[in-house]
């Protein structure tokens, strides 16, 4: 689905169902350099069970136009505007990695709009390795290779994609490099993550049902960092997936979906 947000042509996957603003809205926010496509094993399920889904491409990413936003604060505010742009008043947010920082920031800035928050592979701060940052900002494909290496656990490095025939590392790599210059997506995103210092402050202000899904083999946002973030969020629910890296939404898509189903069913149920 294409729509305008702040005048920018924006794309969001609706999970294969027509968007209906009268259904409860779930917004999925991707991580650095990625796009809506990482969410396919969660979004289609909820879309075919009564929710309106927007797996957004942030500006400058995937199929959205415009330039990448430069700060996490701007991205968080922009997600708030997405809710208005599609004619809704509230949403449940799901973020992955950088998307966790963005959704927390959105919930901090627009508390009245956000009903639940799900953070996958999140941390209160995501400082970047300086060499990785430089590689990304100079469009060096080695940045993507390093990111894919660190982002994946055993399923990524050996195999066993939940969708038969897909190979984790190369799918992720192509998603990052699809159609756009690395420096304009991954480079800008990494810099935004590195600069963002308000994660724990935003976390402390959250007052809504929050779910943290963490991988015990996550090298990008290590488990202890994810737990530290969860400790700052009042009443947060934490699930750790064993033998899983940073890309739990793909590496362990079934477990991730089951945890999310249970959380959404409890805190953001369909109206009877």
């Amino acid at each position: 689905m294409r729509f305008k947000v702040r005048g920018i042509d924006t794309f969001a996957s609706t999970g294969g169902r027509p968007f209906d603003k009268n259904k409860p809205l779930m917004i999925f926010v991707h991580g650095s350099g990625l796009s809506h496509m990482v969410w396919v094993l969660q979004t289609r399920y909820f879309a075919f069970r009564g929710y309106s889904i927007l797996a957004i491409d942030l500006p400058g990413h995937g199929l959205s136009s415009g330039e990448s936003l430069k700060t996490i604060e701007e991205m968080g505010d922009w997600v708030g505007d997405v809710i208005d742009a599609v004619g809704c008043k509230e949403a449940s947010l799901v973020g992955h990695s950088q998307g966790c920082l963005v959704t927390m920031e959105c919930a901090k800035q627009h508390p009245e709009k956000i009903k639940t928050l799900t953070l996958m592979g999140g941390a209160g701060a995501i400082p970047l390795n300086p060499e990785l940052l430089e590689l990304a900002e100079t469009s060096n494909t080695k940045a993507v290779d390093l990111m894919m290496d660190w982002a994946h656990g055993p399923a990524g490095h050996f195999g066993g994609h939940p969708v038969p025939g897909l190979y984790h590392l190369n799918v992720g790599s192509m998603l990052v490099q699809e159609k756009k210059e690395i420096k304009d997506t991954l480079g800008v995103d990494f810099r935004a993550c590195d600069n963002y210092k308000n994660g724990f402050e935003a976390a402390k202000k959250l007052d809504l049902p929050t779910l943290c899904i963490l991988g015990d083999a996550d090298k990008m946002c290590p488990l202890k960092e994810g737990k530290k973030l969860a400790d700052h969020i009042k009443g947060s629910e934490v699930h750790v997936i064993n033998n899983c890296g940073h890309m739990m939404l793909l590496e362990e898509a079934d477990q991730t979906l089951e945890i999310l189903k249970s959380f959404i069913g409890k805190h953001y149920p369909l109206k009877k």
Binding site: S13, G16, R17, S35, M37, V40, L41, R44, Y45, F48, L63, N129, E131, L132, K142, D145, L146, M148, D149, P154, A155, H157, F158, G159, G160, H161, P162, V163, P164, G165, L166, Y167, L169, N170, V171, M174, L175, E178, K179, N243, A253, D254, L257
Partner: protein
């Protein structure tokens, strides 16, 4: 600081498989089953609607076959792969996913005979027409493109004449036209060449050949590079338009760099069903474990054979991209730096009669319709693999009646030579051969 992702030989042994998820079994289990239990009705509905990954029915996917798919995908550097019952079914499935009735393909003329017949005779029944272009005629590929052309297809090293298609240049032509380049890379295997690194968008293999290496099992595969943007124009409605078969799903929007394979599996395997048996997948996996070791020996034996044949009094000509004076030698050194494969074509003095006598009198080399076995194989294409072509098509495909196709095996080189000497001696004696 370098990524620690696994490299080629490690991937050949491990990619696609985790023992911890299979009862600790070190070897890949053979899942000899047709179907898979659903957790509940909701789980079944989600699987059928591509909401979650998993297996439903072995025509669509199978856990043993999945390991093979991921392993080949990893070795090729692709995003997704779909294994099929044979190399031919991989090509058919690819074209049927890409094209609709009224569409057109531009295809290299030097191909396996079955592939020529698919494009020349069978696909027109479905309203898909083809213009053939000689593999070295790079400009000819450009000229042959029509508004309804949906792709360029070719073998990098043509069967059986060993003429090379200039893949990097042809890929630029395809990109300029907004259509994918599809390469049949059976002769090379990913050990010798990874076509995605030279501009290909889709790769097909007959896994029956060098990837298996043991001549035991039929299999094919389609591998997607994730490089082609299906949404760049309106040529590919199968990828971009809502698909009724899955409640209006747009494969390109939803699956991006894996869209083609997802479509080929969801529609092609569902409707045409050329699925790979898990036992065959397992046999191929065994072969892949030693791929690089075998390919090195295949190539070194082939180089020795080229030298031997080039200096033999009974041989009129030898075609192999490593041979001095071969028109594609420079291109081969650029895109096939590890070796130009183990397929050699040579002309025997005395023409068709001498060729028949040679083949009937070699004993170690096997006379059969296959290539890429661990054993040395020979055949006379004009009377066997390409016998369904008429004279004009044979000529256009670069075949002559004196041509012997040799697939060099892993035997000791001296034993192959001794066997060939028997064949050449017999070829000097006149004998009766069937006329066509």
């Amino acid at each position: 600081m370098d990524p620690k992702t696994y490299k080629f030989d490690t991937l050949s042994l491990h990619a696609g498989y985790q023992p911890s998820k299979n009862a600790g079994s070190r070897q890949v289990p053979i899942y000899q089953t047709t179907s898979y239990m659903f957790d509940d009705v909701d789980h079944a509905a989600a699987l059928f609607n591509l909401e979650r990954g998993g297996h439903i029915y072995s025509r669509m996917s199978n856990p043993t076959v999945q390991v093979l798919e991921e392993r080949v995908c990893a070795l090729e550097g692709g995003t997704a792969a779909l294994a099929t019952a044979s190399g031919m079914s991989a090509i058919f499935l690819t074209i049927m996913t890409l094209c609709n009735a009224g569409d057109h393909m531009v295809v290299s003329s030097q191909l396996y005979g079955g592939t020529v017949n698919l494009f020349r005779l069978t696909l027109p029944k479905f309203g898909i027409k083809t213009t053939f272009v000689k593999p070295r005629d790079t400009e000819g590929f450009k000229k042959a493109i029509q508004p309804n052309t949906k792709g360029i297809f070719g073998e990098l090293v043509g069967n059986p004449g060993n003429e090379l298609m200039n893949m990097p240049e042809v890929s630029k032509i395809a990109k300029d036209a907004g259509i994918p380049l599809i390469i049949d890379s059976t002769y090379q295997t990913p050990y010798l060449c990874r076509p995605f690194e030279h501009g290909a968008d889709l790769v097909v293999h007959s896994l029956t050949k060098w990837m298996s290496g043991n001549g035991s099992s039929m299999a094919g595969i389609l591998v997607e590079g994730g490089t082609f943007n299906w949404m760049q124009n309106d040529k590919f409605p199968n990828m971009t338009e809502p698909y009724e078969g899955y409640h209006g799903l747009s494969f390109a929007e939803e699956f991006g760099p894996t869209a083609f394979t997802m479509m080929a599996r969801a529609e092609g395997m569902r409707d045409m069903g050329p699925c790979l048996a898990p036992q065959n997948a397992w046999n191929i996996l065994h072969g892949i474990e030693t791929l690089s070791l075998r390919m090195e020996k295949h190539c070194s034996n082939a180089l020795k054979m080229v030298e031997y044949l080039s200096n033999h009094e009974s041989v009129a000509w030898v075609s192999h991209a490593s041979a001095p004076g071969h028109p594609d030698k420079e291109l081969a050194e650029k895109i096939l730096p590890k070796g130009t494969g183990s397929m050699i074509a040579f002309g025997i003095k005395g023409g068709k009669e001498a060729g028949a006598a040679f083949i009937d009198n070699v004993k170690l080399a096997s006379h059969l319709a296959n290539v890429g076995d661990a054993r040395t194989l020979v055949i006379h294409p004009a009377s066997a693999t390409h016998s369904q072509m008429d004279e004009a098509t044979l000529k256009f495909a670069g075949l002559s009646h004196d041509m012997i196709r040799l697939s060099v095996g892993l035997e000791d080189f001296e034993d192959i030579v001794n066997d060939f000497e028997n064949g050449f001696r017999a070829a000097k004696k006149p004998r009766l051969v069937a006329n066509k």
